[in-house]
Symmetry: C2
C-alpha cells in the first residue's frame, strides 16, 4: 500500500468528514477487529455502543435514549423512514420533507417504496405552509433538517414536530452534521425542544470520531422494534440495524471522541469554526459576492467564475450546491490559515 | 478507552469475522479518515475501490466486473435484491431462496417490499424441485448460497442459475463467507461456472480485511445503474451504495489483504482451515456425536448437552444453528491447538 496516499485534509473544504480526534483514532485502531453486529461474541464493543447512545442522548436532549451506532447519516435517515413506514397505518405511505433534505431521503423512499414529497423552502429553511399543504392522512413522517447539507441552515423544528403531531406522523430530525455544533447555539433542534421521535446525529462528522460512526436516536425502544429481524445462529436474538456485521472501530472511536470533547472541546470547536465561517463570509462579501450564511459553520457564495477546475488543480477540494453556489464546510480541520490561502487563491483568478 | 479491551480471537469459534492480516490492518489504519462515498474529494481511495472490485472479480471468475465495496454481506445481499426488484416487470415481486439463506434476505424483503419464498433444503443444500415449485412469473431473483452460514454447504449454483433463467429472473449467489475458500475446491459457484448476475463476496470475512469490507459484484454495469441516486453537492454525479459516507479503511485493507494473500496465501489458509475442520469433525464423531460437514471449513454437531453457558464461562464463543446444533466456524484465526483445548473442555463436561 506504499503506492497510495490517503487524502490529506490540508485543502479539503468540501467534506462533512474530518480528521478524527487522536483519541478517537487510537480507539478505532484498537477495535478494528470487533463486530457490534454480533454482541454475544463481541461483548465489550456492545457495551461501548450502549455508552455511545447514552452520550448521544445527552447531547440531543434525551434521557434514557434508544438507538444505535449506524454506518452514517444515510443509514440513520433510511431507518427512521423505515420505522415510520412500518408504524404507519396506510398502504400508500408518504414522507413530507423540505426540498433541501439530504439525498438519503430520496434513497430511503426508493428503497422502502414510500413517496417522498418535498416542499419548497423560504430563506433556506422549511416553509411550514408548503409543508402543511403536502401532508395528509397517508403521511407517516415529517422531516426537519437541523443543519442542512448545502447551506447549514436550521429548519423550525418545533413547527415541524407540530405538523407531524397534527397529521399523526412521526417527526424525524436530521442533525447528522449539525448535531455537534447546535448545542452551542440558540436553535431549537432536539428531543428537549420539541416532540421529536427520531433523530440522526453523526459522531463521524463534527463529532470527530472515525468513519463509520453515525447515530440514530429514538425517543422510545418500541420505535426500534419496528426494525427487528430475527437472527438465528447469532448468540443474540434479533437485530435492528440495516447492515449486519458492523465496525467496532466506529463505535469505540465515537465513545472516545465524546469522552474527550464533550462538552468544552466541542464548544471550542464550534466557536473556532463559526469564527472561521464568519471571517470567510466577510472576505467574500467585501469582494462583492452574494453570501449565504453562516447560520452554522458553512458558507455558500454565488461565485460567478467557473472556478472549480482551477481550484482543484491547486489542490483545493470545494463543491457546489444544487443551485451552483460554491460551498465551504468549516469542519474542525479547517483553520483560519487554510481559509486565508484559499481566499488568496480566489483573488489570483 | 483504557478501561475496555476489545474481544481477543483466542477462543472465538462462532464468528465469521477474523483477525485482519497485518498488512490489511496497517492499510485500514492509514485510510481511517477517508470516504469512498465522496470520490471527488477522496480520489485515492476511489482508485483503490476500483482495484478491490477488479481483484474480487478475478477471484469470482469475472473479467471487467462491476461492483463496489459494501459495508458487509447484508448490504450486498440487500442491494442485489433491490437490483432485481427494480429490474423486474411486476408489481408483486418475489424472491426464491433456500431456507438456509442468510437472514439478510429476510431484512431485504422487509425493507424492499418483496415477498421472500423459502424452499426446504435436502441434505443442507437447496432442493431444486422445491425451488422450482416456488418460482413463477413474479419471481425477480433466485438465490443460491455458496457456503451457508449455518453449515458451510454449497448450493448447486448452475441449477440455481438455470432456474433463474427459466423464469426470467436474476441469479444472485451469496458467497459472503465462502468466496475466499471456494477457489481451492471443486465446487461450481461463480460467474465463470454459471450464468450468475450478482454475487456477494466479503473481504472482511475469510479475505482477512478489516471490517467494514463486504463486496457486491455484478456481471454488467447496467445492473448497478438500478441503484443510482443523484447526489447534488458532491463532486460526483450519483451514488449506488446503500450507505452514503463509507469507510476508506475497509476499502484500503481489502486491497492490501488481497495483494498479500491472493492466491497462495488464501490457498494455505483454506488448506489449514479445512484440515482443522476435518480434525474437529473426526474428534466429535469418535465421541459419538452426529456431525454435519465439513463441506467448507465449518463443523456442526448435535451435542445433546446444553453446554453453551459452561463453555462461555470458560471463554469460548460458540453458537448454535437454528436446529440447535453446536456450530464451529474454522476461520483463519482458529488453530489446531485452539480446537484441541476446546475438545478437551468438551470432554470435561
Amino acid at each position: 500500500m506504499q503506492r497510495a496516499e490517503p487524502q490529506s485534509f490540508e485543502r479539503v473544504l468540501s467534506s462533512m468528514c474530518t480528521e478524527p480526534h487522536p483519541t478517537a483514532r487510537k480507539a478505532a485502531e484498537r477495535f478494528l477487529a470487533t463486530n457490534p453486529g454480533d454482541p454475544g461474541t463481541y461483548e465489550t464493543v456492545a457495551d461501548l455502543e450502549r455508552e455511545a447512545v447514552e452520550r448521544l442522548g445527552t447531547i440531543a436532549g434525551l434521557g434514557d435514549p434508544a438507538g444505535y451506532v449506524t454506518s452514517g447519516g444515510t443509514e440513520a435517515n433510511v431507518q427512521a423512514i423505515r420505522i415510520a413506514r412500518n408504524r404507519g397505518d396506510t398502504d400508500d405511505p408518504n414522507v413530507v420533507a423540505p426540498e433541501h433534505a439530504h439525498f438519503s431521503f430520496t434513497k430511503a423512499a426508493e428503497l422502502l417504496g414510500v413517496e417522498l414529497r418535498t416542499a419548497p423552502a423560504t430563506d433556506y429553511r422549511a416553509d411550514m405552509d408548503a409543508m402543511t399543504h403536502l401532508a395528509d392522512d397517508d403521511t407517516v413522517a415529517v422531516v426537519g433538517v437541523a443543519g442542512t447539507t448545502e447551506y447549514g441552515y436550521v429548519d423550525p423544528i418545533p413547527a415541524v414536530a407540530d405538523l407531524a403531531d397534527a397529521v399523526g406522523a412521526l417527526c424525524h430530525v436530521d442533525a447528522a452534521w449539525g448535531g455537534f455544533y447546535l448545542p452551542f447555539t440558540d436553535h431549537d433542534w432536539h428531543f428537549g425542544h420539541a416532540d421529536v421521535d427520531t433523530l440522526t446525529i453523526d459522531p463521524h462528522k463534527v463529532g470527530q470520531a472515525a468513519v463509520p460512526a453515525g447515530g440514530l436516536l429514538a425517543r422510545s425502544p418500541d420505535l426500534l422494534d419496528e426494525l427487528a429481524i430475527d437472527t438465528p445462529y447469532l448468540e443474540s436474538r434479533s437485530q435492528v440495524t440495516l447492515t449486519g456485521t458492523r465496525s467496532g472501530a466506529g463505535v469505540a472511536s465515537a465513545v472516545a471522541a465524546m469522552d474527550a470533547l464533550w462538552r468544552d472541546g466541542y464548544r471550542e470547536t464550534y466557536e473556532r469554526a463559526m469564527g472561521n465561517a464568519e471571517w470567510l463570509a466577510e472576505q467574500l462579501d467585501v469582494r462583492g459576492h452574494d453570501v449565504i450564511g453562516p447560520e452554522l459553520p458553512l458558507v455558500a457564495a454565488d461565485l460567478s467564475i467557473p472556478m472549480t477546475t482551477e481550484l482543484r488543480d491547486r489542490g483545493w477540494r470545494v463543491s457546489k450546491t444544487g443551485s451552483g453556489e460554491m460551498r465551504v464546510v468549516c469542519m474542525p480541520h479547517v483553520t483560519r490559515s487554510m481559509l486565508r490561502s484559499f481566499v488568496a487563491d480566489l483573488d489570483w483568478y
